[in-house]
Symmetry: C2
Subunit: 239 residues, 2 copies
């Protein structure tokens, strides 16, 4: 019973794993994270946490669930620009940022808290820098994906990215992870139609690249996929 209570009382687990994998955290850093996480707020799926153009998202640590960053075009088309997964940061603002560049919506039941201040030079501060860099890398990968890959490549490439990130924060089991996204959301991230995504997924399943059933995704040979797609491991030279 005690151990169970203990587990429930550690909402910051994913964040600690993720940030700890980016830099060596001190006891002070860990305490700051735990303190911040004690103030967690929770939102149900589909909540719009921040609206594009409204006042800025403060730097936020996502404790559980997934958040999508999206744009809506005047005629209603939606593009999901990127995701934040449990343990990652989002809304890290710049000194001059007056409004959010994208809307941020919960894809899941999410829990989040204000990201603790990092002292200059601390491990936490370094982890934050690496998060920023990783985020930039994800944007660049996304541009390449949408600009020059066909549907099948886009699906594999994004799933591969998600797997790598989830492995880093301890949220994957081997090459399998929980996929809270609806096919429609996934299509909006890949610049595809839900119908076409569905057919593409079936093709991927038939060719043995992946399975996706009941909210769980498995990539059968991530290394081979990464090689074919030109996805370099450790572009960030992370520890």
């Amino acid at each position: 019973m005690l151990s169970r209570t203990y587990a429930i009382a550690q909402p910051e687990q994913a964040a600690v794993r993720r940030l700890g994998s980016l830099a060596r955290l001190t006891e002070t850093d860990l305490r700051k994270i735990a303190d911040a996480a004690a103030d967690a707020r929770y939102f149900p799926a589909r909540t719009e946490i921040v609206r594009e153009g409204a006042e800025p998202a403060r730097p936020t640590l996502l404790l559980r669930g997934w958040v999508a960053h999206q744009r809506i075009l005047p005629d209603g088309r939606r593009q999901i620009v990127g995701f934040t997964l449990a343990g990652e940061l989002f809304g890290r603002s710049w000194s001059c940022q007056d409004c959010a560049l994208t809307s941020q919506v919960a894809l899941d039941n999410v829990g989040l808290c204000t990201a603790p201040e990092a002292e200059p030079g601390s491990g936490l501060s370094l982890a934050y820098e690496k998060e920023r860099l990783a985020h930039r890398l994800q944007l660049i990968d996304n541009v390449t994906r949408l600009g020059r890959m066909d549907a099948r490549e886009r699906v594999c490439d994004l799933l591969l990215e998600l797997l790598e990130r989830l492995q880093r924060s301890g949220e994957a089991e081997g090459n399998t992870f929980a996929m809270p996204l609806t096919q429609e959301c996934f299509a909006d991230a890949l610049g595809l139609t839900p119908v076409h995504l569905n057919r593409t997924l079936q093709a991927c399943r038939r060719s043995g690249d992946l399975s996706w059933r009941g909210g769980r995704v498995t990539l059968h040979d991530p290394a081979a996929l990464a090689r074919n797609l030109g996805r370099k491991r450790n572009r960030l030279q992370l520890p």
Copy 2:
């Protein structure tokens, strides 16, 4: 004669205009920029200034010309992820960045210099922050463009972005600007085939949206285009 010499001796003009439009620069800031620009290096078109994965690009001020940031897929497909225009910064590295995330190639005859250090709190420092933010906004816009716009919209949206940026650094004349890009490059930035881009451009010309002849582009009604595309002005709330 003197005035002509003076003009030639000011390679930092575009940079001063651009950075000065982002924040109020002091005499000290201006002197730093001029000093840095005195050490300019020049490269001919097609030079690869930094190769992806090689050692980091140092923060660099582009004095003249255009630079493309690109990725090459294993089979040779190319995606141009973004551009740096005269007066803008690129290669601004993070403390932990060990290698460039994209290759950077000169599209033009370019001139560049090391970006001067900005003292914390200075106008120059603020301008750098805004540059960073603008760069991030451009990436997000690019994702939306590639993911959810058709060929015609992509063309107009990117040209609109370029026009806005060139106006800010004083490199446009009204709604007209010099376009050093080949149609093939432009296609690689838009995720299109050169052939299809060509046909799309013709459609845009016929419908009166733009003209592009002899390296000069004119947008005939930028405001209307921006409205149709849902492009908000001043997302950055710049002065």
